[in-house]
């Protein structure tokens, strides 16, 4: 904050800064013109009028006291002297903008309070993301207040500009390294730069790239682009290792479409839903949501695609693929053959040949024109791997003498990162343009800090003709300059008015007037068009539907597909939170558990877990036998001759001889949150013959246990499952229950009979309805025997006014974690760090429980968002000795933080275990000094510094140490909604109040509302025989209803 010349001063220490004291003096020194009209002599003599005098008196006193450095720090914020019109203290203002990071895109609304962006919401006007958000987008607001941001250029801007320009003038081989850049105006700026320096070339690459796909589409259709996928239109979705719900290209968008066709209509006699098959080597988020998973080793991916193609077109197929998988694929082929245009096949493969075959498959199934179109092609992955590889060799050869790195991080995320790093030394001029430092920036001569996207102007074209605006929501906190502006300055662009207040804004506007404005005809004046676009945040221009023909000769490519490798393999994947490491410095994302492994703060070496009868799960080499005690074994893994120690985690759904590890960890040059967290698996990547990066590899040797035990294993849920079944002497038993006990065996029914999760196959929905009805009937019967006067309260309070409740559709929930991050952001939930999470001290109010069920070798998954159930007979309320938690007449379970003394009795007595104690001083808010915990070796404890504190939501109390906290149904939003309605003199309307988790959800799994509103969305959601209450038989009368999980599993396919 200090380096920042906008005077947001916090305390006396700031005021001691000489310039401020100077200001104070000047205020007195100024001689004010005598007001002639005043006749009074004394006033004439005093040469100031009364009002001024009072003004000085006021400021004088204040400044004197404070500048005199009194011991008490001044923690007051100064009221505005002149209040900006758009700011009403206490009332939030929303601005439409866009979240963009490389190829990731979400159209958003930014919530600002008193000029501070504090929360990101989805923009429902967006035709791409439809108001949904991702965990990454939700967390982006924290990056704005990242203490480790680049704050100043290496040299003063002007000086640096001249030096760079001189360097450019003399350079004869200039490269601009960038990740996918979806901004048309930025492209234009870059164009100008290239025009100014003909010797410059742009190299675009992506850490996790779609290079193979782009090339394949070039081959097949002559279009090096990503087509428009319609997951909502497909009845059969087949994905060869594409994690399209979590990380693949435009996951948020795809998830939205996917969910539409996954929700079942409980009323229908024979409900329908799409069938989703995932062919993969490890359990990805998408795979965990699939109805059928076909497990293949990573190197068998190609063979699998080949086998499926052959099965479709009826070739006799080669025996490269493992028996089980090939049979399954045959069955799958038979299933989808008939349904023309109703199938969608996608592949995450980064190999040209494989993608060409996938295209052929899609063509054979008539997907083009129905489930896949080329009208709104996606710009979200533009990187090509080959040129980047070439660049590395060029650099090695010392051929390049000027490199501009725009937000990319090749020194970390290339397979040849090490070579790149040393080659950079050979480069004369290297310029790093980014918001945050990274491994590559550390190697560059000049650093040109760029503003965070919430401080910047910009535009995005994620899909053809679908534009989206980025507008600043706060004045730049640091001495930064937009990347595009820098390029234009260095290019001496005539179109850039450097004198302007916001030069790039002018440039952007001009570009829109010239290029986007003409594309529409609703608005005659540009200004109105511009205002509308700023307001909506998005603008969609019509595009011509382009018909494409597949020109590729499949057989040549079929032949090119590599044979499966031998030995033990490792599959390397991108996680929902970390991406390829570009999100590593965000503590919220570091602490977001991976949906499938449920681990935080690092990547772990997935080892297969199986069951071979008896009362124990068998893990690879018997590692991690005591995982449930928070202990994990460390193994040494060597790939590409690079050996590293890494902690294991027992994982379901791994193919034979296959291990897994997440990408994006083990970064060193990064904000504190990412520093040294996890293992750097980027070095384990490989390239295929076409130079495309392959996200798997063969292990040099089998992983060998180091004998060390990792006692800081931050896994928030061990592999406890619900219905993992296996065969034992002929009959089907529940494996996990059998293996639960330390001595002897668990008993059957101990878990499966619990009323926590209900799931069934699509063709058994009616049986499930009956089962649920029966169980609920039983629960009601038990609950009838009670002393509690529920009906009395019901009629006295809950039936009057509001009675808040929630419905969660387990079928729609894909477990992406956006809601969890949204909750953290909205409710100032503290971040606790790896050590604390490993001790189960995580503070999340909303968690997503993950349970497996079905075949123990290849289980299905159900995700269950679990938060305070706001029970009307809340067990926690009865036991609090001081009455710190009690019930509102609107059915809310309320927590009074400043009354809580922290006996933890409520947490013990909560059947859902959703109550969280502030074990330590996580928010640096307690009585004692210097007892804060450090999240990850930061200088000032996370949240203690004034920059990070700016992200806090002023409507939500920051809890001190020793206090219990939990989900409040976003009571601050409920109050806000009620107030607004009151001010407008109306009753609440449907959708006035939406908790953070609901607004964040991309699939619409969460519905919040008022039970008393008969025709509201909640009532609609509740009117279903698939609805149930978790643990209803405990008679806690919870207010969160769940709708059972339905899968569309086809036994023939697995």
């Amino acid at each position: 904050m200090k380096n920042n010349n906008k005077e947001v001063w916090i305390g006396h220490n700031d005021l001691n800064s000489p310039e401020l004291q100077e200001m104070a003096k000047q205020e007195f020194a100024n001689n004010i013109p005598v007001v002639d009209t005043m006749a009074d002599e004394q006033v004439m003599e005093s040469s100031t009028n009364r009002r001024d005098f009072l003004k000085y008196l006021g400021f004088g006193l204040g400044a004197a006291t404070v500048a005199a450095s009194c011991e008490i720090p001044v923690k007051r914020a100064i009221p505005y002297v002149v209040k900006p019109d758009e700011i009403v203290p206490g009332v939030a203002t929303y601005y439409a903008s866009s979240f963009v990071k490389g190829g990731d895109y979400t159209s958003i609304l930014v919530k600002t309070r008193e000029g501070r962006p504090i929360k990101i919401e989805g923009n429902s006007l967006s035709p791409v993301t439809h108001g949904g958000t991702t965990a990454r987008a939700q967390a982006a607001v924290l990056d704005l207040y990242n203490v480790n941001r680049l704050q100043n250029p290496t040299k003063d801007w002007a000086e640096m500009d001249t030096e760079i320009k001189d360097a450019l003038a003399s350079a004869n081989n200039i490269r601009i390294i960038t990740n996918t850049n979806m901004s048309p105006t930025a492209q234009k700026a870059m164009g100008e730069f290239l025009a100014a320096y003909p010797k410059a070339q742009v190299v675009t690459y992506d850490a996790v790239s779609a290079s193979g796909m782009l090339e394949a589409n070039e081959v097949s259709f002559g279009l090096p682009t990503i087509p428009n996928y319609h997951f909502d239109k497909a009845d059969n979705i087949i994905s060869f290792g594409a994690d399209f719900l979590g990380t693949w290209i435009s996951a948020g968008e795809y998830a939205h479409g996917y969910a539409k066709n996954r929700k079942v209509d409980p009323k229908a006699e024979n409900p329908t839903m799409s069938h989703h098959t995932q062919v993969e080597s490890y359990m990805s988020l998408t795979g965990s949501n699939a109805d059928n998973r076909i497990m293949v080793r990573p190197s068998e991916q190609g063979a699998a695609i080949k086998a499926f193609y052959n099965a479709l077109v009826g070739n006799n197929m080669g025996s490269e693929l493992n028996e089980k998988a090939s049979n399954a694929l045959k069955a799958l082929a038979d299933k989808v053959k008939g349904a023309n245009g109703k199938t969608l096949v996608v592949s995450g493969s980064n190999n040209v040949a494989e993608q060409v075959v996938v295209n052929a498959i899609n063509e054979y199934l008539g997907s083009y024109g129905s489930t896949i179109t080329f009208d709104r092609t996606s710009n979200q992955r533009q990187g090509l791997d080959k040129p980047m590889a070439k660049l590395v060799s060029d650099l090695k050869g010392g051929k390049v003498d000027a490199v501009f790195v725009m937000d990319a991080n090749p020194a970390y995320d290339l397979p040849e990162a090490a070579d790149f790093a040393e080659a950079m030394a050979k480069v004369k001029t290297s310029v790093f343009i980014s918001t945050v430092p990274n491994e590559t920036g550390a190697l560059c001569k000049y650093v040109a800090p760029a503003p965070h996207f919430l401080e910047a102007w910009g535009d995005v074209e994620p899909k053809a003709g679908m534009y989206s605006i980025i507008q600043p929501t706060i004045a730049p906190l640091f001495n930064t300059r937009q990347a595009e502006e820098s390029l234009l300055v260095w290019a001496d662009s005539s179109n850039l008015n450097a004198e302007a207040d916001q030069p790039y804004f002018e440039y952007l506007k001009a570009n829109w007037e010239a290029n986007m404005f003409p594309k529409q005809n609703n608005f005659l004046s540009f200004q109105t068009f511009w205002d509308k676009t700023l307001h909506d945040g998005v603008f969609t221009a019509p595009v011509a539907a382009s018909n494409v023909r597949n020109a590729a000769d499949v057989n040549t490519y079929l032949a090119q597909i590599a044979k499966p490798g031998q030995g033990e393999e490792i599959v390397l994947f991108e996680t929902v939170a970390m991406g390829a490491g570009q999100y590593a410095e965000n503590p919220w994302l570091q602490e977001l558990p991976d949906p499938v492994t449920r681990t935080t703060w690092g990547n772990y070496f997935g080892i297969p877990i199986t069951w071979e009868g008896g009362n124990s799960m068998v893990t690879y080499q018997n590692l991690n036998q005591e995982e449930y005690k928070g202990k994990a074994d460390v193994v040494e893994v060597s790939v590409n001759g690079k050996a590293q120690d890494i902690t294991c985690i027992a994982s379901f759904g791994l193919a034979a001889n296959t291990f897994s590890a997440a990408l994006g960890f083990g970064r060193m040059e990064v904000g504190f949150a990412g520093k040294g967290v996890g293992t750097n698996s980027m070095a384990w990547l490989s390239r295929d013959n076409d130079g495309n990066v392959q996200y798997f590899n063969i292990l040099d040797a089998e992983p060998k246990p180091t004998g060390e035990i990792d006692y800081e294993f931050p896994c928030v849920q061990y592999h406890h499952t619900f219905g993992i079944t296996g065969q034992e002497d002929g009959k089907e038993i529940n494996v996990d229950e059998k293996t639960l006990m330390a001595i002897g065996e668990g008993f059957q029914g101990g878990l499966t009979e619990r009323s926590i999760i209900y799931q069934a196959n699509l063709n058994e929905v009616n049986d499930l309805k009956a089962k649920i009805a029966e169980k609920r009937e039983f629960a009601k019967h038990l609950n009838d025997a009670t002393l509690y006067p529920y009906e009395e309260y019901q009629e006295k309070f809950y039936s009057q006014g509001h009675h808040w409740g929630m419905a969660i559709d387990l079928n729609a929930c894909i477990g992406c974690g956006a809601c969890q991050v949204a909750c953290v952001a909205e409710n100032n939930v503290p971040v606790v760090g790896k050590t604390e999470v490993s001790r189960h001290h995580e503070m999340t109010w909303l968690r997503i429980d993950r349970y497996f069920f079905g075949d123990h070798e290849n289980p299905n998954t159900v995700y269950q968002p679990m938060m305070c159930q706001h029970c009307d007979n809340a067990p926690c309320e009865n036991v609090c000795p001081v009455g710190a938690t009690n019930h509102s007449s609107e059915g809310l379970n309320q927590m009074t933080y400043n009354r809580c003394i922290g006996t933890r009795y409520c947490a013990n007595n909560c059947p859902f275990k959703v109550r969280r104690l502030n074990w330590y001083d996580y928010t640096t808010a307690d009585l004692f000094g210097g007892n804060e915990v450090y999240v990850n070796g930061e200088e000032i404890p996370f949240g203690a510094d004034n920059l990070t504190r700016m992200v806090l939501n002023p409507d939500v109390t920051v809890r001190s140490r020793g206090v219990i906290e939990k989900c409040s149904f976003c009571v601050q939003r409920i109050q806000e909604g009620k107030l607004t309605a009151k001010k407008e003199g109306r009753s609440l309307r449907e959708g006035d109040i939406k908790p953070a988790c609901q607004t964040a959800c991309v699939t619409g799994a969460i519905t919040f509302g008022d039970f008393n509103n008969e025709n509201g969305a909640l009532a609609k959601a509740l009117d279903s025989e698939l609805n149930y209450l978790v643990l209803e038989e405990t008679n806690v009368q919870s207010s969160v209803h769940y709708s059972a999980k339905i899968i569309n599993r086809d036994e023939a396919i697995s």
């Binding site: 001290h841 036991v879 933890r904």
Partner: protein, 457 residues
């Protein structure tokens, strides 16, 4: 008191004592210089007390996070120790009150020390409800005092609040009972001493004269206090058991808890009395007053209560199975076979199996065996509370939240620390007050003194 004594009874006072000898024997320890053993013991206790102080400081400064509790297991060693100490604190009042009502003469030898032990144990127990809270500096919130917040009173529905009342009442009443018994003996000490000691003991003895009228009132008071203390002592552990019985957690929500907790309390209480008595009688040479008779009688009680507790354990298991309520069934299955199975085994062996050797008179009357057993029982009872608290919480309703628990040094420090506190207080007690109720022993001398009871045969 001088009701008929069956001649079969063995004498409770040995060595043909006269009243004066009794006074001498019991008072002298407070008058002579403490022995070296005493000094060593005291030094050790003080050291442990230091550990306690440091652990408390650490807990308050860093927060409960310095313990290994977690989002699933909100209580473990803290409440385990609390319940353990409260349990121990039951024997004293029980011996003096109930045995007084039952006219059990043998109580006179041990009741004084037992009551002292009760009070010190309750003091130790009282530490935990205080330090286990997240914000100890606001702990006064649990008292229903008029305030400016409404006034916002407390939640009278909460078993924790019942605890507060039960424990504080129990401590107060025990103190009154104990002190009223001490007054005449302090007078004896006063009349044996000179100068400053005399003045101090006069203060402590409230100017007791031994007037017959006072003695009459004194006996009346003791009797009624005993009458009140008896239901009280039963209520206290009942209420402690409500902490668990009134919850919704399978394995806690059990109607058998009150009787089972009370039996357990008497069980552990007597064991602790044994431990202390066996040491005290040796160190203070009081074998003639705390005789094998006393030890055997208490061993009988231990055998009975131990067996009651054992039956309770089995009943729990049966009911869990019989209820047909899977949460309950799983909870107990997990208790026996789950990750904490070792603590269940510890509990069963120490509490149920080992006391069975007391079926043999030989064993009941063997000092060494008794001493070892008394330690066993205390360990076992600690395990019982740990089993009930930690293992139940570790695996409750939602498998997603299951976890495991191991203590940190702070929690261990707090436990040994309260042991230090306990023994420090007890050792001081043996120095300043007669560890045997002089007046009461004198009052049974004629009926149970050996030189007299022989005549009866």
């Amino acid at each position: 008191m001088s009701s008929v004594v069956s001649p079969i009874r063995q004498p409770l006072v040995k060595g043909g004592k006269t009243y004066h000898q009794i006074t001498e024997d019991i008072c002298s320890p407070t008058e002579r210089m403490p022995s070296t053993q005493w000094f060593i013991a005291f030094a050790v206790s003080i050291a442990f007390l230091g550990v306690f102080a440091f652990s408390v400081f650490w807990t308050v400064y860093w927060g409960i996070g310095s313990w290994n509790l977690n989002r699933t297991i909100g209580w473990s060693w803290d409440i385990t120790n609390f319940v353990w100490w409260v349990g121990i604190g039951h024997a004293g009042t029980l011996i003096s009150a109930i045995l007084l009502l039952f006219r059990q003469k043998w109580r006179t030898g041990v009741n004084r020390a037992a009551e002292a032990m009760t009070i010190f144990a309750v003091i130790c127990a009282g530490q935990y409800p205080l330090i286990h809270v997240g914000r100890i500096w606001l702990v006064f919130f649990i008292f229903p005092y008029p305030n400016t917040r409404g006034p916002l009173w407390v939640n009278f529905n909460s078993p924790l609040l019942w605890d507060v009342f039960a424990i504080s009442t129990y401590l107060t009443v025990s103190l009154l009972f104990w002190y009223t018994g001490l007054v005449p003996d302090f007078a004896t000490l006063r009349d044996r001493s000179k100068g400053i000691r005399r003045r101090i003991y006069n203060g402590l003895s409230f100017g007791w004269t031994g007037s017959a009228k006072h003695w009459q009132r004194w006996e009346a008071l003791s009797l009624i206090l005993a009458g009140l203390a008896t239901p009280l002592v039963l209520s206290v552990h009942t209420i402690v058991s409500f902490d668990f019985a009134t919850s919704v957690i399978p394995g806690w929500h059990t109607t058998i808890f009150p009787p089972y907790f009370v039996a357990g309390a008497i069980f552990s209480g007597f064991a602790m009395v044994q431990t202390l008595m066996i040491i005290t009688r040796k160190v203070l040479k009081l074998q003639d007053y705390i005789t094998l008779e006393h030890i055997e009688s208490m061993n009988k009680v231990i055998l009975v209560t131990g067996t009651i507790v054992g039956v309770a354990y089995l009943t729990e298991l049966f009911i869990a199975w019989y209820s047909g309520y899977i949460y309950e069934q799983f909870a107990f299955y997990n208790r026996v076979l789950g990750p904490f199975y070792w603590s269940y085994i510890g509990m069963m062996t120490c509490n149920v199996l080992s006391p069975q050797i007391f079926w043999w008179k030989k064993m009941r009357r063997n000092i060494f065996v008794t001493f070892i057993m008394s330690l066993f029982v205390n360990v076992g009872m600690w395990f019982e509370r740990f089993v009930i608290i930690a293992t139940t919480l570790a695996r409750d309703y939602l498998p997603s939240s299951w976890s495991y628990y191991t203590p940190t040094w702070v929690e261990i420090g707090l436990f040994v620390g309260t042991l230090g506190l306990f023994f420090t207080l007890f050792l001081l007690f043996t120095r300043v007050a007669p560890v045997v109720a002089i007046a009461e022993v004198k009052s049974i001398l004629k009926t149970s003194g050996d030189q007299y009871s022989h005549e009866e045969h």
